[in-house]
């Protein structure tokens, strides 16, 4: 039984006719697993996680067949029950640490808030625990930092505080949304190491959202590749890099400087479809070098031996490995979904 199970998640902004920002996403994460979600800006990776946390507001609409976490059905949880899970068992660290902390309150206040809300700690006990947390995230001079205000901290330190707030409730799953993108290169490695050591020590599952493939290769066990709001491939880490199945993943890997053997970086022509220009068929088809007439239909995400792929003509398959990928419209089974919108 996986820790997190997402089935057919869709998020759209505006009325039902508006194109979805997240389109039929399936995802699962096991206890203690590190999953990386990779994609370009605009692929929907952040929105997916925000939908999971219940942070998508009107005019956004979230719908899913299944949204299960730690045995609880997130779709049917009411406000107060949901708030017992969010911030405690399921926590998130955001991209820009400089704006993620409230400028009007001290660091200590903001950490102790979480302790009070989820662990019932007050007064001295809370302060002590907050101190321990700051030390755990390797903030030098933790005792004095408790009374510091966010604008007095650097980017790296602010992110450490944000991580401390997230792990304060001892979560089973931590979502890190591009935690190092806004930081200096030298600090990036430190923060990543911190996240991984926390993950190991607390046997926490970690979903890492990033666009940096190098980080994925070093840290994740499984990867989900997203494009234009859909998951196009999932796989285990060494294998996906060695033999990408989806043409997009292949192109992504080919565009890393380390992988190129010619003077110009390989790129796909065209740009990611936006609101106004989504193709009727496979979303990559206008740009895909291997497009065939059949790609005029949308392929479904099909599981196979090494993972899942959403392509009628997957690449790098060993003989007999390729799954029978059906068009989405023909996909059988899906129960007339419990489509919850919240």
């Amino acid at each position: 039984m996986s820790l997190l199970e997402i089935q057919n998640l869709s998020v759209r902004f505006g009325d039902d006719g508006a194109p979805p920002v997240v389109d039929g996403l399936d995802l699962s994460v096991d206890k203690g697993e590190v999953l990386a979600i990779v994609g370009e800006s605009g692929s929907g990776k952040s929105v997916t996680m925000m939908a999971l946390m219940g942070l998508v507001d009107a005019p956004g609409k979230v719908a899913a067949d299944r949204l299960q976490f730690a045995g609880q059905d997130l779709l049917t949880l009411k406000g107060r029950q949901r708030r017992r899970v969010i911030g405690k068992d399921l926590a998130m660290v955001f991209q820009d640490p400089m704006t993620a902390l409230n400028p009007s309150y001290t660091v200590g206040f903001q950490i102790e808030e979480v302790l009070r809300q989820h662990l019932g700690l007050k007064g001295k006990a809370a302060r002590q625990r907050a101190l321990e947390l700051l030390e755990r995230v390797e903030i030098p001079g933790a005792a004095s930092r408790l009374d510091a205000f966010p604008h007095q901290l650097s980017g790296g330190m602010s992110q450490r505080v944000a991580i401390a707030m997230a792990i304060a409730g001892e979560p089973q799953l931590l979502i890190a949304d591009e935690p190092t993108t806004a930081l200096d290169v030298t600090i990036q490695a430190q923060i990543m190491d911190l996240l991984l050591s926390l993950q190991r020590d607390q046997n926490m599952a970690l979903i890492l959202i990033t666009h940096d493939l190098a980080v994925v290769a070093e840290t994740a066990q499984r990867v989900c590749v997203m494009y234009a709001g859909q998951a196009v491939e999932t796989g285990r880490v060494p294998e996906l890099f060695d033999a990408p199945a989806h043409p997009y993943t292949e192109a992504l890997l080919a565009s890393i400087p380390e992988h190129s053997n010619s003077r110009r970086l390989a790129t796909l022509p065209g740009i990611v479809p936006g609101r106004y220009d989504r193709p009727a068929g496979c979303l990559l088809s206008p740009r895909c070098p291997y497009a065939q007439p059949r790609c005029g239909e949308r392929p479904a995400l099909e599981p196979y031996d090494r993972g899942e792929v959403r392509c009628f003509y997957p690449r790098n398959m060993t003989p007999g490995e390729a799954p029978e990928v059906l068009p989405e419209s023909q996909r059988p089974s899906q129960p007339p979904g419990e489509h919850h919108v919240y």
Partner: protein, 303 residues
């Protein structure tokens, strides 16, 4: 090489609306702003065609019809649809001519404060170490007094009347334009396109008027609408205090000054001019709000 086959899938048609059309469709959606615009058109029509539209001469006194109620009330007559005032003058005609006056005052004061204001703001922004601080100190001093009091002071010194009212209101509105322009200029001066222009050899004048100023127009336009409506309010206030336009000129505020004595007897003499002021200012503010919402991209997506 990869074989690229033409796809039978439909070519996605990208439809990117032009900026003007985007602005208009955003503006149009705001019912209030549209209503404001319509009312304003009505006002302008009144102002332009007042002599033709008004049934009577606004100063003409009908001695037999002092304080006649509006037509729908008992004692009223269809001759004077909105009734007459204490000197027997037709309310409707006075209100229509009042529109002409108010719009004139609003327009004149905006023009006479906008142009010098932009100029001073440009100067202050382009000369941050010499002229700038001096100009801004001056503006701060002018802003130290609430606008109405400053206008009252100016009119107190110069004497009442239409011209002095316009002058006083123009002076009072000046600081906001200067501040706005200067702030916008300082922001724009930091931008790369200005540096690029300078590198290409653009002189200060060209920079000022051709490169920078067009980019400051949006907040200026919005401020101009706001000033227009406050000009009407301030002019009416001055008229009410007896310091602005003098009777028998039918300025709406001046009409209210003498109306005080008739609260008990003739509600229309008290209500109608003020209502005219309220509706006009409301229309302009609605329009200005709609303008702001349509011009400010940040607010657009937060629908």
């Amino acid at each position: 090489m990869n074989s690229i086959e033409t796809l039978p899938a439909a070519e996605p048609t990208a439809y990117y609306p032009s900026p003007l059309r985007e602005f208009w469709s955003a503006f149009r959606r705001n019912k209030g702003a549209l209503g404001g615009l319509i009312y304003m058109v009505l006002l302008v029509a009144c102002a332009l065609f007042a002599p033709a539209l008004a049934p009577y001469n606004p100063s003409e006194q009908f001695r037999d019809f002092l304080l006649t109620p509006p037509a729908w009330q008992e004692g009223g007559t269809a001759q004077f649809i909105l009734g007459t005032d204490e000197l027997g003058r037709d309310m409707l005609s006075r209100l229509i001519h009042g529109a002409r006056l108010s719009l004139l005052i609003g327009l004149a004061s905006v023009v006479f404060s906008l142009l010098p204001g932009i100029l001073l703001g440009l100067l202050a922004g382009f000369s941050p170490t010499r002229l700038g601080p001096f100009i801004m100190r001056l503006m701060d001093i002018m802003l130290a007094l609430p606008s109405l009091l400053l206008a009252v002071a100016i009119v107190a010194i110069l004497g009442p009347g239409l011209i002095n009212t316009i002058f006083a209101i123009a002076i009072v509105s000046l600081p906001s334009y200067v501040r706005l322009t200067r702030a916008a200029v300082m922001t724009e001066l930091n931008r790369d396109y200005v540096t690029a222009s300078k590198l290409a050899g653009a002189g200060t004048l060209r920079l000022m008027f051709i490169s920078v100023l067009p980019n400051c127009m949006a907040p200026l336009i919005i401020q101009a609408t706001l000033s227009f409506s406050s000009a009407i309010l301030d002019a009416a206030a001055l008229g009410f205090l007896g310091l602005g336009v003098q009777p028998p000129t039918p300025e709406w505020g001046t009409m209210l000054a003498s109306a005080r004595d008739y609260i008990e007897r003739a509600w229309w003499v008290v209500s109608l001019p003020g209502l005219a002021i309220l509706l006009s200012v409301l229309a302009i503010n609605l329009f200005g709000d709609g303008l702001r919402d349509a011009l400010d991209p940040k607010l657009k997506n937060a629908a």
